[in-house]
């Protein structure tokens, strides 16, 4: 039998909240799937849509952008900008026919290790039935 498909998730995590949240999950030895390639960014607001496209282009099966909860942004309002931008990108990717499950955004605070693991668990579960992402993957 073929091995079960293990999706690769590229997660852009803000340094101050979500990345700290994932660290908390790590140091607390919470179990969650090892499918994530985390990329620490200074703020969810610094995630250019180009990063997202590039992640899919380079073979990500799913992309997650995660930042602080509204009001908690280290830079006061970076995550509000992110919210707008990601909403638009999400709709555009949906419009061109990429499965909407493949691109997610979340608010994860530094204290929410559990929430982080749950988000990843859910994400992996949702991606598995979709199989590998080939639509935007580099076909040189």
């Amino acid at each position: 039998m073929a091995e079960e498909f293990e999706p690769k998730i590229v997660a852009f995590l803000c340094k101050w909240c979500s990345s700290a949240g994932s660290d908390l999950a790590g140091v607390s030895r919470m179990e969650y799937p090892p499918n994530v390639v985390p990329i620490q960014v200074m703020c969810s607001g610094s995630v250019s849509p180009l990063y997202v496209l590039s992640a899919f282009n380079k073979g990500a099966d799913g992309v997650l952008v995660s930042g602080c909860h509204p009001g908690d942004c280290h830079y006061i309002k970076g995550n509000f900008y992110a919210r707008r931008r990601i909403a638009l990108v999400k709709r555009l990717l949906d419009f061109i026919g990429l499965e909407p499950q493949r691109f997610q955004m979340s608010w994860v605070s530094a204290a929410e290790g559990t929430k982080y693991t749950q988000i990843i668990k859910d994400f992996v579960q949702e991606l598995k039935p979709l199989g590998p992402q080939t639509k935007l993957r580099r076909d040189l």
């Binding site: 509204p70 919210r83 909403a87 638009l88 061109i96």
Partner: protein
């Protein structure tokens, strides 16, 4: 109706008074129906100006050249440039003003109103005329155009040959101007996103199939980028040397610069290009439709921009190109922006 003689008179006056450096307008071409962008430098030359339903170009694009040229000059002529704009073009100007790419003093705006009609889609006209070569096209009273062919004049309902963008136009007369020619008409459009909804309503698989086929055709001539008045960046992620290199740029900087997409015109790279292009125009595109008009492969690029335009309206009640004072779409937010998609 816009009287061409009035247009010429206005142009002549400002040139004679020395109020403008030169005027960018529509000029009759030697080769028939379609005009060409004209750069009118003297009062005598205003006779070249025309205004017809074939004046498709968004001439605000040439302000980008003008700005670059001016920045290279040691003692630049500080007078404004005269610019002929349609309604849609004037919205592009508003965006350029909003982004402070140009100053209001840099441009003397000669607005022309499309009134109840707009400009043609050349391909639709050719099809409509079934092989007869159009020599001339003129506005007529009401919603008609008059087309002159070798066999004489025919009257055509504008709606049959209007460009798609004009059928969904939100500004048939200029929203900003120094002089306005023609009636300040506001044609009501029931649904400015009608054409888009045909694609939106397709199931996901069909949408993917559609875009895969369309964007795989792209040969990356970059005409869509080149013609867009908002594409004024000195550096573009699509270029091989993807930033403005000067003698001071270090080798490290050059070497470390990321190649976001490859030059191969294959599906995946074409998607990166077109999606980045679309996103970069979110809240900026004013639907002049030039990108789609110039595409040699007839890729309906406009839908990508249109989709973002619609989402900006739906999600954030944002419309580009009406108010130069409003903050830009992606550098502003409201507390109540939707977040139901966030986990």
């Amino acid at each position: 109706m816009v009287n061409l003689e009035d247009l010429k008179k206005e142009a002549k006056t400002v040139l004679e008074e020395g109020k403008v450096k030169y005027i960018i307008g529509y000029e009759k071409s030697a080769n028939g129906l379609m005009p060409v962008p004209g750069f009118i430098k003297s009062p005598e030359e205003v006779e070249k100006l025309i205004w017809t339903p074939a004046c498709v170009y968004n001439l605000t694009k040439f302000l980008v050249d003008e700005k670059r040229r001016k920045s290279r000059e040691k003692k630049p002529d500080e007078r404004p440039v005269g610019l002929v704009v349609k309604g849609c073009d004037s919205r592009a100007l508003v965006v350029l003003l909003q982004e402070k790419f140009i100053n209001r003093d840099d441009v003397f705006i000669i607005g022309v109103s499309c009134e109840e009609t707009g400009v043609i889609d050349e391909k639709k006209l050719i099809k409509k005329l079934k092989g007869k070569k159009a020599e001339k096209i003129e506005f007529d009273e009401k919603d008609n155009f008059i087309v002159t062919t070798q066999e004489g004049k025919v009257k055509i309902a504008a709606s049959e040959v209007l460009a798609e963008r004009c059928l969904e136009c939100k500004a048939n007369s200029p929203v900003i101007y120094d002089v306005l020619l023609g009636e300040k008409a506001k044609r009501s459009v029931d649904n400015p996103f009608q054409s888009l909804e045909k694609i939106e309503s397709l199931p996901e698989r069909e949408r993917w199939k559609f875009w895969k086929e369309q964007l795989s055709k792209c040969i990356r001539c970059y005409a869509c980028r080149s013609v867009c008045p908002m594409c004024y960046c000195d550096e573009c992620v699509a270029d091989t040397i993807n930033f403005a290199v000067t003698a001071d740029t270090t080798a490290e900087e050059k070497a470390q610069k990321i190649k976001w997409l490859e030059k191969s015109p294959v599906k995946s790279e074409n998607f990166v290009y077109h999606l980045v292009r679309a996103i970069h125009l979110a809240g900026r595109c004013i639907d002049c439709g030039e990108c789609e008009r110039v595409c040699p492969l007839d890729i309906p690029i406009r839908f990508l921009n249109k989709k973002l335009e619609k989402d900006a309206k739906e999600l954030f009640d944002y419309e580009a190109g009406f108010d130069p004072e409003q903050p830009s779409l992606v550098s502003s937010f409201k507390d109540e922006d939707p977040e139901d998609f966030i986990r």
